[in-house]
């Protein structure tokens, strides 16, 4: 799905980003880089600023200082639609479908900024192929789907934007353990189709087992930044990560 040309410059990047909510300092000097076609993950305990990172990446929150860079261009003050148009898409925390709209409408809203009718049809077909369950329930109100089905629609909706990089906020949250496994397989499948994936997870072992690289966020600061195998082997990881757990 992507037109990877250059894998040596980052697709999406944070350069010394600080984010505040009112006077509260959330992200502190965060540096991140996501390269085309990569699968990377951001780990961290509750309230460490993971969702805020995603919102900042997508332009829904403007950083106080520092730069958000897309394809080498600083996009700090660009609206979200600018990033979505250029292939940055998010699967929000808790799936958050448009509950009273049908599954079909949800999918179509994912392609809101696209104008290529044929391409949209093509992608719809591709998503039906990927999730046959979704196709059976096109006219059902999405709020009445089961959690697992909602996850499929949420992913489908994001894919409808033809992303180059998919930002996923805790994709396994609220899913039964068996589904979590399937879910990670799906993520890998999307990744193999050429989409870069930036995944936020609390489920460190699972996430690192499929990721290339990862960061650990602690109270808004990146405390670890390494390849996935190194992180898995890192004795500090568990300590620092779980330290955040009880807030």
């Amino acid at each position: 799905m992507s037109d990877v040309t250059d894998t040596s410059t980052p697709l999406l990047e944070f350069r010394g980003v600080n984010t505040h909510y009112g006077a509260v300092h959330i992200l502190k000097d965060v540096d991140l880089a996501i390269y085309p076609g990569e699968l990377v993950c951001l780990l961290g305990g509750n309230a460490s600023g993971k969702s805020t990172t995603l919102k900042t990446l997508l332009g829904m929150v403007t950083p106080t200082t520092g730069e958000v860079v897309l394809d080498g261009e600083v996009v700090n003050n660009k609206p979200t639609s600018y990033l979505v148009e250029r292939g940055v898409t998010m699967v929000p925390e808790n799936r958050r479908l448009f509950k009273r709209l049908s599954v079909k409408e949800n999918l179509e809203l994912g392609a809101y900024l696209r104008t290529d009718k044929d391409g949209i049809e093509e992608d719809l077909e591709r998503i039906y192929e990927m999730f046959p369950r979704v196709k059976e329930r096109l006219n059902q109100k999405s709020g009445t789907l089961s959690g697992g089905e909602q996850q499929m629609v949420a992913m489908g909706r994001a894919l409808m934007a033809r992303p180059r990089v998919l930002l996923m906020d805790e994709p396994s949250m609220g899913l039964a353990p068996a589904l979590v496994q399937t879910n990670f397989e799906l993520i890998q499948q999307i990744h193999e189709a050429g989409v870069a994936i930036f995944m936020v997870e609390q489920n460190a072992n699972m996430a690192l087992s499929i990721a290339d690289r990862g960061w650990v966020l602690q109270t808004g600061r990146v405390v670890l930044d390494d390849t996935a195998p190194n992180l898995l082997a890192n004795p500090d990881l568990r300590a620092s990560y779980l330290g955040e757990g009880d807030r």
Partner: protein, 614 residues
């Protein structure tokens, strides 16, 4: 209300005395309270002059009598859940209804005794001999005390017995009551329709008593008609006779399109012909309904589609009205320089549209970033501010202050002038604009913009994450709504001939909102029907409806409707994710629980502070 489904097992009926006594007493006391409240709100006395069936039943008595029936029914109605076995309904339910009615009746007896012995007119203005007389049916205190428990018991028994009627009987009873009431309520319209141009006096003479209300033979005929229609309905449900609605729903593709075309043309032709058959008063009523349909369609876009709870919608109606008035009337405020011309209505309309867009942006821009409750309150304020501005000394030179703008001419079409003295012409004008509004709403709903509105209504921040420019899209909703309301204002000005700040009170916003909510948000046909029924029967904030006697109670009824709707479909009223989540606490907790399970599984029991359901 629905009969148990086939999947439900039925247990035998319970013994008559096996009651949930506490529930019965509670419902009875509630009924007593409601009956006393309605009495002291003076409904029976002021509606007594309006006859339903001459000389037996007036609207005044009806305002009391229907309540025991409903209460007698609901005391033993239960929500039918799939896979649960329920007891069959029988004597127990009938008795429960009767007892509830009895207790309620005793409440009224007590009221009769109290009114007879104490004078509380000072705090309670309606504590009057007239009420006492009415409650005693003019037969003295003894009769008054005894009759209410008896009546209450009887009506309650009827309410309870609805449970044991077969579905067929229930349908037929419903149709009979509906037909009698409907033919009585729509008396003016029906008489007007049948006798103004058409020679059907003999029908109306048969049905109606000279001084109003159904005659006894009329009531019987109406009941028979209702019964017949109800029976047809039953047959239709059994598939014996065809049901047009069902058939229509099954149409697809080109056939559906053809059916739609036929429906649209029929409606159009009916709208064109109907006013010709009607007299002044009914046409006036239709014109008022039309003005509110236009307003409701506009607000429906803002509240129903985009989910923005705008409580100051009257502001745009006011801007349309005032702008038209000022631009067309010779009698506007005297501070206007000469170069502001006194123009034709259509020329003024162009300025009105521009002004409406500007006002939409002006009010929309500051409030658009707010959410839910805050937005509602701020728009409420803006609605009042606009009215107060028109009233103020500061703008008084331009708007005439409290004197308003008078001498507003009608719409001169060359061959005819459309103005308030000719409500039929006004109705046609309104109908044209309603048609435009319906078309626009329908197209918008299916459009990309409509999708974006619905997405914002469902979940604003996710809509933003999809790349929807929420600020612009919400502003568009404000602007489209504003333009439709300003059309209504422009026609309103031409219709009434003079406008004052009091024409644009908050109540207008509230009434339109109730119309939209009752009609079913986001549903064009529902909104039109809602406007027709509410404005047509009850009347607008200042416009009389068919039941002119109801005008004192209009607000009470609008308020009650609003409460009822909020209880019945809360997320409909404040369509905002956070609210919806609060209202669906169980699902939310369920989610949280699942999440904690997953966390616990993965983290070997590590504490997960965030998910503990508070």
């Amino acid at each position: 209300m629905s009969a148990p489904m086939a999947t439900n097992e039925t247990l035998p009926a319970r013994a008559a005395l096996d009651q949930e006594w506490r529930k019965v007493v509670n419902h009875g006391l509630l009924l007593a309270l409601v009956l006393v409240f309605v009495s002291l709100a003076n409904m029976p006395v002021s509606l007594d002059s309006r006859m339903i069936i001459e000389p037996m039943l007036s609207m005044g008595y009806l305002s009391l009598l229907w309540i025991p029936v409903v209460m007698g029914f609901i005391v033993s109605s239960e929500k039918v859940l799939e896979g649960i076995a329920y007891h069959a309904k029988g004597a127990r339910e009938v008795l429960a209804g009767g007892l509830v009615g009895l207790i309620g009746g005793l409440g009224l007896s007590l009221l009769v005794v109290l009114i007879d012995n104490f004078d509380l007119r000072d705090p309670l203005v309606n504590w009057s001999p007239a009420l006492l007389d009415l409650l005693q049916f003019g037969n003295g205190i003894g009769f008054g005390v005894i009759i209410w428990p008896v009546l209450g018991f009887g009506l309650g028994v009827f309410g309870g017995a609805l449970h044991i009627f077969t579905a067929m009987t229930r349908t037929i009873v419903g149709w009979v009551l509906g037909a009698v009431l409907g033919i009585a309520v729509f008396e003016t319209v029906i008489i007007d329709l049948l006798t103004e141009r058409l020679p059907f006096e003999f029908i109306t003479d048969w049905f109606y008593f000279i001084r109003g209300g159904l005659s006894q033979q009329g009531a019987v005929t109406a009941a028979l008609i209702g019964g017949g229609l109800g029976y047809l309905r039953v047959l239709a449900q059994r598939g014996v006779v065809p049901t047009p609605v069902q058939d229509y729903k099954q149409l697809v593709g080109p056939e559906r399109t053809r059916a739609n075309t036929i429906i649209i043309i029929t409606c159009g032709v009916a709208t064109a012909i109907l006013p010709l058959l009607l007299g002044r008063i009914t046409n006036e009523l239709l014109a008022n309904v039309g003005l509110f349909v236009l307003l409701a369609l506009g607000l429906n876009i803002v509240v129903g589609l985009a989910g923005i709870l705008d409580l100051g919608y009257v502001a745009f109606f006011a801007v349309g009205g005032y702008a038209t008035a000022i631009l067309t009337s010779p009698n506007r405020g005297d501070s206007w320089p000469d170069w502001v011309p006194q123009s034709h209505w259509f020329a003024a309309l162009i300025v009105v549209i521009l002004l409406a867009i500007l006002t939409g942006l002006f009010i929309g821009a500051p409030v658009i970033r707010m959410r839910g409750d805050y937005l509602a309150i701020v728009t409420l304020g803006f609605g009042e501010i606009i009215r107060l501005l028109f009233l103020s000394d500061w703008l008084g030179g331009y708007t005439g202050g409290a004197q308003g703008v008078t001498n507003i001419p009608g719409v001169d079409l060359g061959f005819v002038e459309i103005k308030g003295t000719d409500p039929r012409a006004i109705f046609y004008l309104v109908a044209v604009f309603c048609a435009i509004a319906i078309y626009v709403s329908w197209r918008l709903e299916k459009s990309r913009l409509g999708r974006a509105w619905m997405a914002i209504r469902e979940d604003e921040s996710v809509a933003e994450a999809m790349g929807i420019n929420t600020v612009n899209v919400k502003l568009m909703a404000f602007v489209v709504g504003a333009v439709l309301a300003s059309f209504s204002g422009a026609i309103f000005a031409a219709k009434v001939g003079s406008i004052f700040p009091t024409s644009f009170i908050i109540l207008v916003s509230i009434v339109i909102l109730v119309v939209v909510i009752v009609g079913g948000m986001g549903n064009i046909v529902g909104v039109i029907a809602g406007a027709a029924v509410l404005i047509g029967v009850l009347g607008g904030p200042k416009q009389p409806g068919l039941l002119a006697e109801f005008s004192e109670f209009k607000l009470l009824i609008y308020g009650a409707l609003l409460i009822f709707m909020m209880l019945k479909r809360p997320e409909g009223l404040v369509p905002n994710v956070r609210r919806t989540r609060e209202l669906h606490q169980e699902e939310f907790l369920q989610d949280a629980w699942l999440r904690s399970q997953v966390d616990a599984d993965e983290q070997d029991g590590a504490p997960s502070g965030e998910v503990a359901p508070a």
